[in-house]
Amino acid sequence: MHSRPSALPRRAFLADLGLGFTGLALGAVLQRAAVAHTPASTAAGRPHFTPRAKSVIWLFMNGGVSHVESFDPKPMLTRYAGKTIAETPFASVQDPQKLALERLVVPDANGNQRNTLYPLQIGYRAHGQSGIEISDWFPHIARHADRLAVVRSMWTTDSNHGAQTQFHSGRHQNDGDFPTLGAWVHYGLGSLNDDLPQFVSMGTREYWNRRDGHYLGPQHDAVPLRVDPAHPLDFGRPELPVSPRDRETSLALLRSLHRLREIEYPADPALTARIASYELAARMQMSVPGIVDFSAESPETRASYGLELPACREFGMQLLAARRLVERGVRFVQIQHGGGGAGAWDAHSGLKANHESLARAVDQPIGALLGDLAQRGLLEETMVVFATEFGRTPGSQGSDGRDHHIFGFSVWLAGGGLQGGMVHGATDEIGFHATEHRHYVTDIHATILHQLGLDSRALEIPGRKRLEIDHGRPITALMA
């Protein structure tokens, strides 16, 4: 190691070794590359206890999905439609004490309360053996009701779209920038496949924060992947023509020049890392385009993901790519739907048209993904998460929208050793507050880490002590 005071966090060490970014996380590298300088802390790169899942597919709906029109039916909204909350039996939800968790970043002179209840814009039906009620906007997901663990009692604190970042990092944006869940998983677990990046993101993330690693270092940022076979990876292929044979000669020469340089600069970990980075780059360059080449998939599979339907095509390709990635051992695939601006699901007005069309874009691909994973036996070891930054107000905004709502909303998880066909937690009768089994966003993180066999407390970085709430608590009720 060149001149690092040994007290520096491990990430600095890794940053120099440079072997973390695409999956040679920690221990995995240290063991494989037999680098002598093992950091004092844990045997990272290996789970802390027996894992139930290997990979995560993280689907994030940007803008805020209406919980009351997706996974948490509230007929009272229809019954009391047009009444102010104060006029209903549920007036107590607006008790200021109960509203105090909100942390405003952007003022809203209209007040964040939308007082007039807005009726449900879509019907619900019970599905599967479990009879979980799911709105009619999500018929394909509903077919897998018995595979879902729906959590109807989420809460967060940022009433604006900074909550997107908050859902990934567990921190309100006013607290600063913190590593996201995917970065922690990447940091904590070794690689399952050295030819592919281990933490991949697809879709646009724009609102507040585009990075993941933060104090863990840039090598723990997600590697952006596009579902364009010609251009899946930044600088993934030569931007001007280079013949493969010339390239081969070039890489061979580079390898020998680097080795020869070790004579003048022996025991130089940066040089060692540089050599390794070229090996890995070459393997990535070979492997990544194959991920988004769907020609090997059967026509039925392609059709099931909606690849032929303009509405679902893009998201369907991302999900199919996600399946191919986890099949090859990639740890964490993070897919942003509707990213850009505040997020497509942000239905301040025209909620019905908005959600109807967005649900059409995501429902069939997600249904296909769940079915496909299950059929291949991958669902047992893959957790699929459907999340969004917050729900939407029970009251109407304008004539036909709903505003941001942080006090109660829904997410669901499936696979990865969790129980299916269950509903956990509840909101009150108008979907205002999470009332039973309340969960802050980091409880979802803790659940995922737990299933991956990680104890987030064992991943601490010296000098970056995390709080109780950062770690969250695994929702054991969901576990099979």
Binding site: M1, S3, P5, A15, L17, G18, T22, F49, T50, A100, L101, V106, P107, D108, T157, R171, H172, N174, D175, G217, P218, L233, F235, G236, P238, E239, L240, P241, V242, S243, R247, T249, S250, A252, L253, L254, L257, H258, L260, R261, I263, E264, P266, D268, A270, L271, R274, L280, A281, M284, A342, R457, E460, G463, K465, L467, E468, I469, R473, P474
Partner: protein, 931 residues
Amino acid sequence: MLPAPFPTVPSRISKPFCGVLACLSTLFATCLGPARGAEPGASEAGYTSGVKPLLAQRCYPCHGALKQKAQLRLDTVAAMRRGGKTGPAFEPGAPTRSLLWLRAASADPEERMPPEHEGERFTSAQLEILSAWITQGAPAPDPDLPEPDPQQHWAFRPVARPAIPPTRDPTLSRNPIDAFLERARERRGIRAQPEAPRLTQVRRLYLDLVGLPPTVEELERDSSDPAPDAYERLVGRLLADPRHSERWARHWMDIWRYSDPFGLGDQLRNSQRHLWHWRDWIVEALDADLPYDEMLRLMLAADETHPHDLERLRATGFLARNYFLFNRHQWLDDTVEHVGKAFLGLTLNCAKCHDHKYDPIPQVDYYRLRAFFEPYHARLDVLPGEPDLTRDGLPRAFDRDLDPPTYRFVRGQENRPDLTTRIQPGVPDILAFAPLLIRPVSLPVDAYEPERRPWVLEAHHLAAQRRVEAARTERNRLAARHPAPASPPSETPECLPESGPAQDLALAELALQVAEAERRSVEARSQALRDRWNSANQNPASSHAEAVAAERAVAVARATRAAALAGQKHAHAETPQRETAAQELAKARETLEKARLAVRAPVTGQEALTPLPGAAWTPTRFADSTKDDPSQEFPRSSTGRRTALASWITDPRQPLTARVAVNHVWNRHFSTPLVPSLFDFGRKNPTPLHAELLDWLASGFVASGWSLKHLHRCIVTSAAYRMDSSQRDAADRLALDPDNTLWWRRPPIRLEAQVIRDAILIHAGRLDLTRGGPPVPPAEQDQSRRRSLYFMHSHNDRNPWLATFDDALVKECYRREQSIVPQQALALLNSRLVLDAAPAIAQHVADAALRLSPEMRSNSDATFVQTAFLTLLGYRPAAAELDAAQSALRAWRTAPPQTDPTTPGVAHAADPAHSQLVAVLLNHHDFVTLR
């Protein structure tokens, strides 16, 4: 069944957790794992290794040297035995009768220590450590030293000028830096590496001081100069080189959080438009070697100290950058945090929610520091020649509110201000070496009525004139096409000629009339303003009346044109839109009629004139995210608070400023700082190993008049800087000091993103050395050949190529990451930047090879390879490297040509095999490394 991974947590924070807790995190930096529990029988050792560190982490902030709540100290066993208000902390042998254990273990949050919101509960394993030690009778080690007095903390003590230590072998020292380091090495019996080869030293100096590699000629010349002071003279030349300031500006921009404006879509939310003026000021200030203390004073308060001086006002971009559209607290939090970190090495932000846990900074001090900034806001001033602030303008700070209240926020929560006490500006007691003098500054009239600046009216006039000329050009262009005279249909403007060209001409004529009316209005309003300003010897009333008339004429001209356009639209409207068009036309006619009537109205003297602004406040939306907060006039004075703060920060008695600055500079020369925590010189950080060297540099820096160039010269002429970075023949030292804490070798540096890109361009002969100006927008960056410093750089806009090489984050970048990741390999192997540059570089190398070895009539491969290594990597290849390169050249040549010869990348004079070799060397570790 899985083992339960998490112990049951009895209580958790269910209320809104707040930013408060964010910085508590550092309090428990190195937690004791449960594995390190009490070792029975290891009595005092158990205290020293278990109990004492635990108490230090969890209890000392309130019961140690910093504070003695309830008159209790827990930092020695004797102090615990003495106890505090409620008696001794323990009863030997009886944990359950010992307050220490009882309070830590209590289930009652009211009872429990640390108090809620102040720290986490002791874990059961930690309680076990306490209990075991008390059970053993609470044995004490000897000596049992108390926590040192915060006053004695190394960084809070005045900077003394340490004596230069004698060393055994003075030939190893080139300057006192080396004497300090050599003495430390002598003590450990460690030998320094020899000096690096001259070639390496020269390449190092160029890249470090000007951020660009030397040409091969410069490299040859400077490394073979036989003069004894050749190196020093090269240093002098490079420090005087204007490119030096661009290189080092980027370093300071990292530290000072430079960011071009960003927001959501077109909405500006953060930083300021045209913030590049501040960047240019940094470049120019470094070029002129403006004293560092003066730089800080200008950045913090140039608007108070130099309100007339646009050049210096640019410095306050430092403050304007923190603008945040929606939230004042976030804005001021950023300001306080980074003034503290960047200038003072103080983590003031840790005291936002509670008293600082390590440093003598009570929570109220955070708000006292915030109070210095409470009055300031951001605005754009009109610059000569451009009145349109969307096109250019000077972003700067100014005091907008002269007596804004500052309140302490309970637990840092912005919705819980403690309204009982208004907090006044002030500094932490421990650093209050002199009374703080805050004197309000009365501003010159230019500052609060910036339209009086001589160039402002001129700029408005010039812009009006430009619009007239543009309109006239357009009119003339159309007139040339349609020579028939077009009588402007001014009375019935909607009755335009029917045919296309005639109609266009008539509209252009109307547009010209508008522009001319506007110009006359600008002139008349300017005159009215000037008369008002000099009202002693003029008659403002008449010029006011003229200005009013001119504005009315503008209204008529505009309404005339609008009516013509409405008439045109109506004439062409299809049936469905015809009715709407008719309504619009009627409305336009009505407006025109009113405007015409208004011309005839008498002038009362009360009419407000459309202003000709000299500046505009950057509006905020603190109250409502959908509309701007109300604007107000610029105050006639400034509070003087920031001037006072700046004097305190730059006072030679201030122990932190110079130390922090030299540590930044040292770090940027060596990639390894003398004080590892660049932004935290607080008590959490023990006296650094080379504290005397730090103080010697800091005192010399102040004595030199805070000259950065002096400091650079001092550092780069040291033997430490010139040393080899290799670990060759150093197994002994690697074993003794693997982390190089004694500087027995120079640390190599992975070059910064900007340097790598600039180097590629300059080697290709393509670097555009134009200085300053607006940033290169993202869409133009691929084609741009400007230095990377000038690329648009914000939270939202980061160049993807530069980002691959750990480009600075605008939120905080006290230190650049130096990652080595496969994405960098892909960027260097595949990007157009590299592939396109390689042939051009190959051509330059071939030309240089011919110049350097004129005897080689044919440009032999060997000469080419040698010259390419020297040019790109800064060393001469060994025989094996030469062989490898030459055989690769042969391999490329024997390959059948597969590339399309018309491709731009390969359409060049250079030998394609040579280009291939160059591309390989651009991927070489040494190309991106400062050896």
